[in-house]
């Protein structure tokens, strides 16, 4: 796609999306981090849906400057074919009049270069942000880890004051990110500082089984999936759920 057309499309989608969000006023839950975004996003959506809430999450990994509006508007990508963009262009306008727009949007945010987070936050204003962990993945386009961490600080800072920032407490840069926020900060993971603390993990025949302690209550979680990252995703989802219930 020609850069000129891409820019026009990007701004068209951005402003329609902002208008759609202003009309429908969904609660936005942002999920960002170097790894485990998709599974965390899915766990949060599952928890919300279990409570009977209508929630929408990104299709595939639509999480960039064009992907994010598509995720919010629930539209397909035209990828590199001009004519394949027509349904998205028309559909974007139709979203203004959508009668059953979801109450919750659970949105993965993708950051691959400096400035990406600032742009994404010019489209959305999250009530809740989850930062799943920061590693050297995607570091290539940044001048160093500080630059990359800076993107997540922007998200923590950009989360509504009345909201929540849930951070993977086992990540060594997580504390630094948390300090940037004026919202409530909660940690999840195995370390002592975590409010959603993973106590026990055992591998069952159908997936991981974990005990997660939250506010003195122990949740026994059967994941139906294999891998510790699913337990972290579930712990994050418990914190998000608790916050949503409290407001």
């Amino acid at each position: 796609m020609k850069p000129f057309f891409k820019k026009i499309l990007q701004y068209y989608l951005k402003y329609i999306t902002k208008l759609v969000l202003a009309i429908h006023k969904p609660v936005i839950i942002a999920v960002a981090g170097s790894a485990n975004k998709t599974f965390t996003r899915d766990e949060i959506r599952k928890v919300l849906e279990k409570r009977g809430s209508n929630a929408r999450a990104n299709l595939k990994s639509f999480n960039t400057e064009i992907g994010l509006p598509l995720a919010i508007l629930n539209l397909p990508s035209g990828y590199n074919e001009y004519r394949n963009w027509l349904p998205a262009i028309k559909g974007a306008l139709a979203a203004l009049f959508e009668t059953d727009f979801p109450k919750f949007l659970v949105l993965e945010l993708g950051v691959s270069k400096k400035g990406d987070m600032k742009y994404l936050l010019s489209v959305i204003s999250p009530e809740v942000s989850v930062i799943t962990g920061i590693t050297q993945r995607y570091i290539e386009s940044f001048s160093g880890m500080d630059d990359l961490v800076g993107e997540y600080k922007i998200l923590a800072k950009g989360t509504k004051r009345s909201g929540l920032v849930a951070v993977n407490g086992d990540n060594s840069r997580s504390g630094e990110v948390a300090k940037s926020s004026q919202a409530e900060i909660l940690f999840y993971g195995k370390s002592e500082k975590c409010q959603a603390k993973i106590l026990e993990i055992e591998r069952g025949s159908n997936g991981e089984v974990a005990e997660i302690s939250v506010g003195g209550k122990i949740h026994r979680e059967e994941l139906g999936r294999f891998g510790e990252h699913h337990i972290y995703a579930r712990a994050a989802a418990i914190l998000v759920d608790k916050h949503i219930q409290s407001v």
């Binding site: 595939k60 993945r137 290539e140 386009s141 025949s205 997936g207 999936r225 891998g227 510790e228």
Partner: protein, 395 residues
């Protein structure tokens, strides 16, 4: 000298290709290569990775975490649940995955059972590992199905695994769930691994079908090693990229061999694989529709040669494996092993300049057959079949 390689043979498919290359006007239906180019969205993903300067260095030995995470998501869509951090290994095509698997799970002298006819290179890899391939024939009359009693009879104390290709190359047929579950019972009874090569799983030429994989069953996760390659589904044979998955306890051993063999899969191809999983679903669906048309075309053309061939209609992959039923054909003059399928393939090559693969390449039970690939374009298929029809009109 050359003790390890003396019993290896250059694949018959490659031998046919070498012979075919001497005929300037040859049409090759021999190699299993899709006629399509790699989809544009995959190339764009690679261009981006090149521009970002992320392809020049090794990745972690099991592969880029972001690719493995995408693979985990894809597997979950197919009802298979594996941990991307410990249970998914990105390989340099499926053949590297097969080699690493066999080297990891066997000791020299072990036996591996292979339902045949099946993919030619299995035999060579097993032999290279110092193991013994034990062929068990599929039942052609019943649509190339597994006959369980034959497997029970073939198992010895040295048997380590049953290694099958599903959908099967060269027959283009799919094993049913019931058959696979029976095979799994046998594997449990005799404590065997099940190696499932599913590189054609995306090509289903019948409506509403889905391939069942034993890797879907959590109780079998320590026993099943499943392999996939991007080569066929995404027209990426030259990129050499695939993956395998199994329980952590198995994959950690295979990883040691993989690391010794290749360090990591080519990083540029790992980015291509990410592009494939992120964006190429529509291309796979398009390829599938084209292969369905080509399957119907080649079957219609074979139907016109009923005095020469009989065949089981393929329901997957892009191969058909007809039996040569014409009598009284002599191929003594050809420089080849004493085999009807070899002679017939060379006869087609010399007289019609059409390259096919002799069935014996796929195991003893493949003798008397030839493999046609309909991965080629409709135009190539028509031209090749015109020549074969013309040849047999006058003989």
């Amino acid at each position: 000298m050359f003790e390890r390689t003396k019993n290896l043979k250059l694949s018959v498919i490659k031998q046919m290709e070498l012979r075919a290359s001497k005929f300037p006007d040859v049409i090759s239906l021999a190699q299993g290569v899709p006629s399509f180019d790699t989809p544009e969205c995959i190339k764009r993903r690679v261009e981006l990775a090149l521009r970002d300067g992320v392809v020049a260095k090794y990745s972690l030995s099991p592969g880029l975490p972001e690719l493995r995470e995408l693979i985990e998501v894809k597997l979950a869509e197919e009802n298979m649940f594996y941990d991307f951090e410990k249970e998914i290994l990105v390989t340099a095509g499926s053949i590297e995955g097969i080699t690493a698997t066999i080297l990891a799970i066997t000791n020299p002298g072990d036996e591996i059972i292979i339902p045949e006819p099946t993919y030619t290179s299995y035999r060579e890899v097993i032999t290279l590992a110092g193991c013994v391939p034990v062929f068990v024939s599929l039942n052609e009359e019943k649509g190339w199905t597994l006959e369980l009693e034959k497997y029970e009879a073939a198992i010895t104390p040295k048997t380590k695994a049953i290694f099958y290709c599903n959908p099967n190359n060269p027959t283009g047929t799919v094993y049913s769930k019931e058959q696979l579950l029976e095979l799994a019972k046998l594997a449990e009874k005799h404590n065997l691994y099940l190696i499932s090569d599913e590189v054609y799983k995306d090509f289903l030429l019948e409506e509403d079908r889905r391939i069942f994989s034993l890797a879907e069953l959590p109780e079998l996760r320590k026993r099943v090693i499943r392999l996939f390659s991007f080569s066929k589904s995404y027209a990426m044979t030259g990129w050499r990229i695939g993956y395998l998955h199994s329980d952590e306890s198995v994959v950690k051993e295979i990883l040691k061999v993989h690391d010794s063999l290749v360090t990591c899969a080519p990083v540029i191809s790992q980015y291509a694989a990410m592009g494939a999983l992120e964006m190429a679903d529509k291309d796979v669906a398009y390829f599938n529709r084209q292969y369905l048309k080509r399957r119907d075309l080649i079957c219609a053309r074979l139907d016109k040669l009923k005095n020469i061939f009989s065949y089981v209609k393929p329901t997957s992959s892009y191969y058909v494996f007809p039996k040569i039923i014409k009598d009284n054909m002599k191929f003594d003059s050809y420089d080849c092993p004493d085999s009807l399928s070899w002679g017939f393939a060379l006869y087609l090559l010399e007289k019609a300049q059409v390259a096919v693969v002799p069935g014996v390449a796929f195991g003893p039970n493949g003798e008397g057959h030839v493999r046609f690939s309909f991965g080629r374009s409709e135009k190539d298929i028509n031209r090749a079949m015109d020549r074969i029809e013309k040849l047999f009109k006058f003989t």
